[in-house]
């Protein structure tokens, strides 16, 4: 039994249904791949015993003919999702050995549908980062390297472990979260498919909170079809999340292969940045040409407040983070550093438990919410956010079905290469993705080509609220035209 790990999720589902192989065999193949890929540091916790137990249960259900839509499919779970009885840390020292006594809604839905958990995946601490370098477990390696180079590159972030594990064929799909680009940017850096659904589509209950008005979970997968299958299980109304939307979950997979003829695709002129690498520019034109060849109509659109999205984000997100992370106080869970009084206990615990990036964001968030600065920073940023959303609404009101942009301003970079002197240098990674979170819209990143050094590049499609189906249909057109990309194994 060779290479069960190279199947797509859709192919594996067929093989399991036809009993060509069992879930236990499929799961073992992935567990072996994980063991052989520890150099990537994609998993922060492997759960082989639990995986085999779940695989056996899935095999039994498949045998009885009552298998769920993901029966027997081995997945990786970002360490931001609470998993009952399995350590969950958000890759922060401050959560220490936190073992949840409950299961996040999204993961419980995946297990309901028969999926198998292989383990917990690395991410930037509290999902704050664009390179997975802020994790307390250390950086993650990208399975992709530049042609002829041995330099290890970052997989992007914050869902770096998810993207790396899917690209390196360690799991058939992974959960991820996206606050400013944390699904789409790592997907683009690793030639995987990542979708951030509309805000409210997936429950946030049981996911470690970063910026609650921006956080949204979604899958990273090997193909658009696989992503559609995963999202169907992840999405849905949850009374435990007041922002979760009570509308039916469509069969996203049915959108794969659907004609895009006559669809209007917006090309936003503001995304054409000064100094943008020619490779990105060419990829974007090529993507537009593929959609046109499939019968879509291209129109230039304007999103005039685009350039203000990232600065507004770096007020709103840290403000919400400073509030959400106030709970890590050394009293109820996680790390505790002693102090002579309660204030010292808090201050010492948080100084020891939070990494540099998290401290920086909590502090800037505290500042912009503090007396005398709230109106100048936070209130203004929330007004700008209204304008950013209106840009998209105006565009969709003109009959645009989806917007095509590059996913990232560059390909993957080396560990330690960015953000050392100025944090803003790292933040610029999210320049094309962050607008989507600010407006609560769905966005998908699909692999579309490679740069001159052989590194993958992705395109992003932005859709109307709750119209993930159109993104899957368009994403599939790009995938069919561009083909799939697999890294050469070096780990």
């Amino acid at each position: 039994m060779t290479d069960l790990t190279s199947l797509t999720l859709a192919e594996a589902r067929k093989g399991l249904a036809a009993k060509t192989f069992t879930s236990l065999e499929l799961t073992d193949a992935h567990l072996n791949a994980i063991e052989a890929a520890r150099a990537l540091n994609a998993f922060v916790m492997e759960t082989p015993d639990q995986a085999r137990t779940m695989a056996r249960e899935a095999d039994a259900r498949i045998g009885k003919g009552d298998a769920g839509p993901l029966a027997g499919i081995p997945l990786g779970i970002k360490d931001l999702f609470a998993t009952k009885g399995v350590r969950t840390t958000a890759c922060s020292k401050i959560l220490g050995n936190f073992v949840p006594t409950y299961e996040s809604t999204i993961t419980s839905q995946l297990w309901r549908d028969g999926a198998v958990m292989l383990g917990k995946l690395n991410n930037d601490e509290f999902a704050m980062g664009s390179s997975n370098e802020t994790s307390c477990f250390g950086p993650v390696g990208n399975p992709w390297r530049r042609d002829g180079s041995n330099t290890t590159l970052v997989p992007g972030g914050s869902s770096g472990g998810s993207a790396s594990a899917v690209a390196a064929l360690l799991c058939m799909g992974a959960t991820a979260t996206d606050t400013g680009g944390s699904i789409r940017q790592p997907a683009a850096f690793t030639a995987t498919v990542g979708i951030k659904p509309t805000y409210g589509r997936c429950s946030r209950w049981g996911i470690v909170a970063f910026a609650s008005s921006l956080d949204q979970a979604g899958p990273i997968a090997r193909s658009t079809r696989d992503a559609a299958m995963l999202l169907r299980s992840m999405a849905g109304h949850d009374p435990k999340d007041t922002t979760s939307v009570d509308i039916p979950v469509p069969d996203y997979e049915a959108a794969i292969g659907k004609s895009v003829k006559g669809m209007k695709i917006g090309i936003p002129k503001e995304y054409r940045l000064d100094g943008m690498p020619a490779e990105i520019e060419n990829l974007w034109s090529e993507g537009a040409a593929w959609l046109k060849a499939a019968g879509a109509e291209l129109v230039e659109v304007s999103l005039p407040h685009t350039k203000y999205a990232l600065p507004a984000y770096y007020i709103v997100a840290p403000a919400e983070a400073s509030s959400n992370l106030a709970r890590y106080d050394g009293v109820r869970y996680g790390l505790r550093e002693q102090g002579r009084n309660i204030n010292e206990l808090y201050e010492n615990t948080r100084a020891e438990g939070f990494g540099a990036e998290v401290k920086r964001r909590v502090m800037i968030g505290t500042y912009v919410l503090s007396a005398g600065y709230y109106d100048a920073y936070y209130l203004r940023a929330q007004k700008v956010r209204t304008l950013i959303k209106k840009d998209f609404e105006d565009c969709f009101a003109k009959g645009v079905d989806a917007i095509l942009t590059p996913a990232t301003p560059s390909a993957a970079f080396g560990i330690g290469e960015k953000g050392g002197a100025d944090p803003v240098e790292m933040y610029l990674n999210d320049i094309f993705t962050v607008t989507v979170n600010m407006a609560g819209l769905p966005g998908i990143a699909v692999p579309a080509g490679k740069d001159a050094q052989g590194l993958p590049l992705g395109l992003q499609l932005i859709g109307r609220p709750f119209d993930e189906e159109t993104l899957f249909s368009l994403g599939e057109v790009i995938e069919q035209a561009a083909g799939r990309f697999t890294p050469a194994k070096w780990w």
Partner: protein
């Protein structure tokens, strides 16, 4: 706008993060880099614009004001660094 060293110390205290004197200049530089970056928002005309309160047009969901969960004190304290029975232990707060 930019922050001085005293403001950095004040923010750190408000955020309940212990910061040593040696860390202040570095933090000050980073915070000012972020503040310089967000400064461009001041050129946007936001007159008459409502601040965003909800990104999806939906009514806040309400539920019946009844107890629908609970009796899980063991779970609540399970991960606490110091407990006694079902209580969290902290240094003495009230003299």
């Amino acid at each position: 706008m930019s922050v001085d060293a005293a403001t950095v110390r004040r923010i750190a205290h408000l955020a309940r993060i212990a910061v040593s004197e040696g860390e202040v200049p570095h933090l000050q530089g980073e915070l000012n880099a972020m503040l310089a970056f967000v400064e461009q928002l001041s050129e946007v005309n936001v007159e008459g614009v409502e601040p965003m309160t909800s990104v999806t047009p939906m009514q806040m969901k309400k539920r019946q004001d009844v107890v629908n969960d609970g009796e899980i004190a063991d779970d609540i304290v399970a991960n606490a660094p110091a407990t006694e029975g079902h209580f969290f232990l902290v240094p003495k707060v009230v003299e």
